[in-house]
Amino acid sequence: MARGAGPVALPSPPVAAPAPRVRAGLGARARRRLPGIASVALVVIVLVVLFGPVLMLALFSFNDSSIISLPWEGFTTRWYEAAWNEGQARDAVLNSLLVASIVATVSLVLGTLAAWGLTRLRFFGRGLAAGLHGSVLVVPWLIIGVAGLIFFSEVGVALSLQTVGLMQLVVTFPLVVAIVSAGLVRFSRSQEEAAIDLGASQLQMLRYVVLPQIAPSLAAAGIFAFAWSFNNFEISFFTGGFEQTFPVWVFSILRQSENLPVVNAASTVIAAAQVLAVFGAWLLIKRLSRRGGSGGDEAISELMTGAVR
C-alpha cells in the first residue's frame, strides 16, 4: 500500500505546501486519498470471504429444492415454515435466548462489581484476584466445558440449561470486567474525588459522575456478553446434557446428516438478527458516548482498542 501511495502522492504536496499549518494533516490525507487499488482489493476480498458464505447460505434458504446446490429451482419460504414447525429448532433458539439473557444480565452485574473493586479499591490479594479474572479469559472453552461436565457429574448435579448458564457465566463475566475496567481506567479518579469534595454522596458520585462515563463500556460489555453466551458452543455442548442451545442443535444436525435447507432457514434468521443487533448496538453506544461528552465514533474505536490492551 505504501508503494501504491508514492507515485499518486507526487502531484499533491505543492498544493498542500502553501496551506496554513493546520491544514497539514489534511494535505497528508489528500495525498493518501487514493490509497491504491491494493488496499481496496484487500478489504473487498476479506469481506467477501468473511460474509460471502453466509450470504450464500441465506440465499439458498429460499431455494425450492431439498438439495443445496445449483441450479436454482425457484423461490420459496417453505423452509422457514418447516424450521418454525420443527420443535427442536424452535426450542433450541428459545433456550439460547433464555440462557444468553440471564448470563448477560448476571455477567454485567458481577463484572461491573469486580471491575470497580479491582480498579478502585486496594485490598489484600487484589493482584491475585485480578490474575484469576484474567486467567479465565485464556482458558480454552473446550476445557472449561469438559471440566464442568466432570465437576457436575462428580458432585451429582444433572446437566441442564442451568449448568450451561453457570459455566457460561464463568467465562463471560471476566470479559465484562476487562471491558468495564478499560472504561474505568480511561477517566481520571480526580473527578470522583472532586464530586465527593463538593458534597456528593457515594451513590450520587456513582450515578452522576461514573455512570455517564462508563455507559458506553457497559453497553458494549452487555452486548458482547450476550453474544458470547448465545454463540457459545463448546461449553453448552459439554454441560447441556439433553438440553440443546442453538449452536448445539446445528452441530448435532450436521453430525448426523447432510446439509439441510431447514438449517439454512434457521441460520439465516439468527444471522439477520445478529446483523441488526450489532447495528443497534453501534447506534446505542454512539448515543451514550455523545452524552458522556466524547465524540461518538472515536469512542467506539477507543472502546474496542481499550479492552484488548
Partner: protein, 297 residues
Amino acid sequence: MESASVPAPRVPRRSRRRSLLRPLAFMSAPMAVLLLFFVAPMVVMLVIALQYGILSGQSGFTLSNFTDVLGDDLYRDVALTTVQIATAAMVIQLLLAVPLAYVLAFKAGRWEIPLLLFFVLADELNPMVRIYAWRMLLGREGLINSFLIDIGLIDQPIDALLFSKFAVIVVLSTSYLTYTVIPIYAAMKAIDKNMFEAARDLGAGWWTTFRRVLLPLIAPGIFVALLLVYIPLFTDFASPALVGGTEGYMLGNVVNDLVLETGDLNGGAAMSMLMLLAAAIFAVIAYRLAKIKQLEQ
C-alpha cells in the same frame, strides 16, 4: 476507640472500616463464582486425571492416564496435525491482519468505523452458522464444485475441498480474524503518524519503514493477537468435527471422543490438563513478550 474518634478527624476511621467492607461488598460475589465454578472444576478435573478409571478395576492415584496419553503414537500424530493446522491458520490471519489493520488505522478515513463494525459483525455471527456455510460451499456437491463443473473448468468434483486439513484451515482462519485484527489495529492507532514521515524524510523505503518502524511498534499487538487467537485455534473442536474428516482430526476431537464417545473421563481429563498446560505456557510466553515489547518503547 469511640472516645478517641472525637478529636481525630472522621476520615481515617471511616476509610479503615471501608478498606475491609467495601472490597468484600464488591469482590465476594465475583470471587465466589470463580472459586466455585472455575477453580473447583479445574481441581476436580486434575484429581480425576490422577485417578484410575472405573473400568481399570484399580483404585487410588496414578500417573498412568498422563503416560498413556503421552505415550500414544496416534495422539502424537494428532498433536502434530493440530499444531500444523493451528499454525497455518494463525500465519494466514497475521498475513491478512497486519495490512488490514494498517488500512483501517491509516488509510480508511471515513470508512474506518464502518469497516470496524464489519469486523465486529464477523465475530458476532454464530460460529456454527459460519461453519455450516463453508460446508455448504466446499462439499463434493457443494456450490464451489458444482459451479466449477458448470463452467467447465473441471470434470470431477474436487474432493479435497471438504473433510480435509484445507477445510479446517479455511474455516478457522475466518473464525478468529477479528481477534487478530483488533489488537494490531489498537497498536497502530497508538503510533504517531509523523514517524512514517520522518522515516521517509530520512530516506527509508517502504520495506525499511515497515521492518524498522512499523513492525517494532506493532509487535505488542501481534503478541496479544497470538495470545487471544492461537489458544482457541489449537483447542478448536467444532470445525474439525464438521469439516475436518479423518485428515483434519485435532486434539479437541480426541478430548470429545474420550469423554463422550468412549466414556473415559480420566483419560479425557488428563488430555485436557495437558492442553491446559500447553495453553498456559503459551499464554505466559506471549504475555511476557507483549509486555517486554511494550516496555522497550
